[in-house]
Amino acid sequence: MAENKTKSKNTNFRKGLDIFLFLLPGILLFVGILIAPIAVSIYRSFQKWNGFTPGTFIGIKNYRDLFMSGSINWMTSLKNALIIAFFSVFIQLPFSLLLALLLGRKYKGERFFLTVYFMPVLISTVVIGQLWLKIYNPDYGILNRALEALGHADWKHIWVGDPKTALGSVVVPTIWQYVGYHMLLMYAGVKGVSPDLREAAMLDGATNWQVDRYVVIPCIKPIIRTSVIFAVTGSLKTYDLVRIITNAGPTHKTEVPSTLLEDMLFLRNRYGMGSTISVMLIILCFAFALAISWAFKEKEY
């Protein structure tokens, strides 16, 4: 009996050690690069800190300044991120859903269209940004030349340089690039809807649109929720296209939280404020993810 007990204690210890060793590489990476730095960010967000000298504790001043002081441009950056999120959710996702539903109806060339629509997702955003810069170029860009050819020379525009159109010139490629991604997820969902269900509705006299509306969409709701979460948190994290296309200009008009964060580090040496922005981004991402999940749960019957 006693022997057995020590034996099982030993195997338990052995098992615990093994579990620990199996988890070790993952934990080291995850905690070292993600969790610990975030803990440091939270701590530093309450400090005035230039990254080199020890920081001084200033309470919530950074957070207050972030929202109150116009020179930091936080409100502009937040507004821009939310505008991008708005267009993603209300233009990009409905369009992706439409494409997914249409392709789910077995049109000829389904695979071809699917493959083509997904292509931009694979291309680096830096490349996409450079390409669109060439499209927007005021003198030689395709956009202005096409307008000229169509007889609308008066519509020609310095798209990226004008504060009125600068944000739009970032929004369009963002939406364009990821339509294929959301469409693919939704298409996988549409294909997962049981053919019997579809057939039964058809036999009851439902049209294609009715089947989509009352059978398919309710079935793929969890996927739509995932897409909405990805679209919103992705918009909050926008960086690449803004850096490449407008470089947050003209005069900070297209600043987004991530570009602001980078400026705090490299241009202004305000590491404390940079940490505050990081923390705000985490809070926003989690808050939106939870709120969206909650909103979708409410509507489920």
Binding site: L23, P37, G51, T115, A188
Partner: protein, 285 residues
Amino acid sequence: MQLEERYTLKKSNPAVKVLVYILLVVWAFINIFPIYFMFTFSLKSNEEIFGANVVGLPKEWLWSNYSSAMNTGNMGLYFVNSVLVTTVSIFISIGAAMMATYALTRIKWRGAELTNAFFMLGLTIPLQASIVPVYVVLSKLHWLNHYSTLIIPYSAFTLSMSILICTGFMVDIPYDLDEAARIDGCGLWGTFGRIIVPLLKPAYATIGIYAFLQCWNEFMFANVFISDSAHRTLPVGIKALSGAYTTDWGPIGAALVIATFPTLIVYIFLCRRIQDSFIAGAVKG
């Protein structure tokens, strides 16, 4: 099957069908055109691009744009850097994810679920959240501008998704196999190495593809952490190149093609697999 076809045909209006096809084709064109445009202007001189021949095929195929991108623009080096950083990151991520997933799904212990939930936090946490402290630590250690400066964060950022995908594959392996191995005298490590690792081959491809695209295209960390030209990856290299060639479009186009076409060519051959790996990554989350 036939029945369903008949009903669909009976109900669908031919005019709607035509409209649908017009929409599908127009959107396909909008997706292909930028790639075509990129390829053609990479082979043109400025005179052609700025002159009459904006969107046509190049009159004179100027392959010298590619040699300027490779030689003056260093695209060859950046390409090798990207391959190196990406490959090593993927291996680390897959290795760490498989080990962790094994402990989380195939060994019974209290706290497994909680630990899994902890790892899944990484799916929502924005990468930007860790950039300030990581940057400060790396610069204090004089560790900026190394390959490992990017490899370690990239492995960490892809870890959560890798674990998620791995879990999906691992729960499909019957537990009887573990028990049989245990009876034959394999310990946990033996079971892992001899049973699980070989059976997870399909998972490697799925994770690998997903992680590849994350790392290959990553820009923010690469832009912040790498300032010397010797360690630039393709996205940062392209940004530098476009700064150097503001007026000469051809070499920039060539650089864009060099960074993009290898991925696209692989995609054409493996499109189904690649699409599946994106679906696996998102639908289960």
